[in-house]
Amino acid sequence: MIALGQFLEVLIGGLMSGVLYSLVALGFVLIFKASGVFNFAQGAMVLLAGLALVRALDLLVANGFPLWAAIVLGIAFAAAIMATTAWLIERFVIGPLVNQDGLTLFMSTIGVTFVIEGAAEMIFGSDVYPLRLFPTDAWFVLEDVFPGGILVNKLDVWGALIAGILVAGLAIFFQRTKTGRALRAVADDHLAAHSVGIPIGWIWFVVWLAAGLVALVAATVWGTKLGVQFSITFLALKALPVLIIGGLTSIPGAIAGGLIVGAGEKIAEVYLGPSIGGGIEYWFAYVLALAVLLVRPQGLFGERIIERV
């Protein structure tokens, strides 16, 4: 019974932290779907959004604003920063690079990563800034069934809820709104979309803005978990296997990928790790992704890759 309880605990913990990776992966998917850009800067964008939010919050609270007002204004400020970033990236990097191949675009987003990291630290500081928007303690459920109960972290639950709402919202946005339809049109064929009068520059701005806002949401959760600091940028590397397993173009895929990676790596680390030295979860996620790709080269939910000569 103890073993089962522990296994459930690891499984649930893993699934939940996988969803937290999904929050970051969603931003990647949005941009890849609409513009074919593999956006390495997503991690840096989470850092930027987090720093903008937490610094604004601290300043407002210090100046006597009530907490709720500070949170609303802080989020508005961070959103404005993300909008500016989205505009700058679209205007100066992605716009001019239209029609380049995927690798060039990918590398340009690494360039963008450097710029964002440098600028964010220069403007907002390079210290660690605590952010407490969500509770971080834990529930112990089913204590009468399993000795010690099963630990469920409240922050993880919040993260899962937010991710669920986010995915639902994005799905509605993509399927039901005019802009959403335009987005899908651009994603399918941007030249055709352009010729029927869809403003491509605007659409790309919207996509980057959406990714920026997703980054902001991820920053609220991850900032609470870690404190807002530079290391948040490393989340990009944790989100990549999630992305690959789910498929680069699928929003629900990002969530599914997160669940698989999270559960897989935690179970591997706890049960396999001790016998081979531990610390395996980093590469285990990637090996998992590799295994999935060998079976389905476009990820679980990605669009089928059709090649023609």
Binding site: F38, F92, V93, P96, L97, Q100, G102, L103, T104, F106, M107, S108, I110, G111, V112, T113, F114, V115, I116, E117, G118, A119, E121, M122, S126, L237, L240, P241, L243, I244, L248, I276, G277, G278, G279, I280, Y282, W283, Y286, V287, A289, L290, L293, L294, P297, Q298, G299, I305, E307, R308, V309
Partner: protein, 375 residues
């Protein structure tokens, strides 16, 4: 007028197939090699400006040469064969740690067979080259998925190699000869009795190896194999239809590329760092190499050198300039500016010339040919 091949007649096929068929190119190359092989050592021996201190040799030229070699390896895979890899750092690590194991002697007890594999300590040069070969073997292994996985998906899949080997060299004490901290030291660099120690000797050693390897790579990509790689890169299905075997072409690209990267890794560890830990070959190194290749120009050996120089030297320059100009900026601000300017420069270059410096060079040549009336 200076750069015009009019009047240079080729009378044999051999002449036509030379690496540098144009006389001016040959002269330029000879001058360059002369500077590298004779000029630099002379200046450095007599401490003539700008070689007043070891800085230029130790901190610029040495890493430049080794990383340029690694960039050539990466370029063969990414630029010539079109297989995007983010695992170059791992292959450098494999080269480094294999060479370390070979140079200190390998002993693998096979208890269930009642015997053991024992290799006595090998010489440094043999270890470095064998380290490259081992990297090539592992490269082939990790190249197999490329037959099925393509493009950016493959890039992420190669990260599996990167993170796995980061972990393996950190966690498996056998690789580090059970060093308590997991950090290992390079052996004495003894090349047939010649002990390479001073910066200038290290520089010459690397220069020699890099020149040889670059020549090898250049000839490979001009030949049958290189043409197969490029056909695969341009469109693999079409290449298959005209009779190129993707299995053979892709795996040879992985093998050759990993061999060169592995040798570069061994040099990086033995000659440049002297003592290292897996972090020296982290994902950052892989990204750095990919940058060198892309900024330098995909599918260009010369581009790899220029790219390596750019990616290595520009951040250092950006870091040095404010202090030398006497701009009163804090170290922190300078570092932030370095990031911002470097990132912007990369984006700017990618926008202005997505094919990298190699393309700029060929445009320059075209213009020179039409000089004094270029258009």
């Amino acid at each position: 007028m200076l750069y015009r091949e009019a009047g240079q007649f080729k009378t044999t096929y051999v002449e036509d197939m030379a690496i540098f068929p144009i006389r001016q190119d040959r002269i330029a190359l000879a001058v360059l090699l002369g500077i590298a092989f004779i000029g630099v050592p002379l200046l450095a021996t007599f401490h003539i400006w700008p070689f007043g201190s070891d800085y230029l040799l130790w901190a610029i030229l040495l890493p430049f040469l080794i990383l340029a070699l690694a960039a050539i390896g990466t370029n063969i895979l990414v630029g010539y064969c079109g297989q995007i890899s983010l695992g170059s750092g791992a292959f450098m690590a494999i080269g480094a740690y294999s060479a370390y194991k070979l140079v200190t002697g390998v002993h693998i007890p096979l208890a269930w067979l009642g015997c053991a594999i024992s290799i006595p300590p090998l010489s440094v040069l043999a270890s470095i080259l064998l380290g490259g070969l081992i990297a090539a073997g592992v490269g082939i292994l990790f190249g197999i998925p490329s037959l099925r996985i393509k493009g950016l998906y493959l890039a992420v899949a190669t990260l599996a190699a990167q993170f796995f080997f980061d972990w393996a060299f950190l966690r498996i004490p056998w690789f580090t000869n059970y060093a308590p901290s997991g950090s290992v030291n390079a052996p004495e660099l003894n090349f047939f009795g010649l002990i390479v120690q001073s910066p200038i000797e290290r520089y010459l050693l690397c220069l020699l190896l890099v020149t040889l390897m670059a020549l090898l790579a250049k000839n490979l990509v001009r030949g049958n194999l290189g043409r197969q790689w490029m056909a695969i890169r341009d469109m693999d299905i079409a290449a298959e239809l005209i009779g190129i075997r993707p299995l053979y072409a892709k795996l040879t690209a992985f093998a050759v590329s990993s061999f060169i990267i592995g040798v570069a890794g061994a040099l990086w560890a033995f000659v440049y760092l002297g003592s290292w830990e897996p972090l020296a070959f982290s994902i950052d190194r892989s990204l750095q190499l990919l940058f060198m290749v892309i900024i330098g120009g995909l599918g260009s050996i010369m581009g790899s050198f220029v790219g390596a120089a750019f990616i290595l030297i520009v951040p250092i320059m950006l870091n040095l300039i404010p202090a030398e100009l006497g701009v009163p900026l804090s170290t922190e601000t300078i570092a932030h500016f370095e990031f911002i300017i470097f990132g912007s420069l990369i984006c700017y270059l990618l926008i202005k010339e997505p094919h990298g410096f190699a393309r700029l060079i060929s445009i320059g040549k075209e213009k020179l040919r039409l000089w004094p009336f270029p258009y």
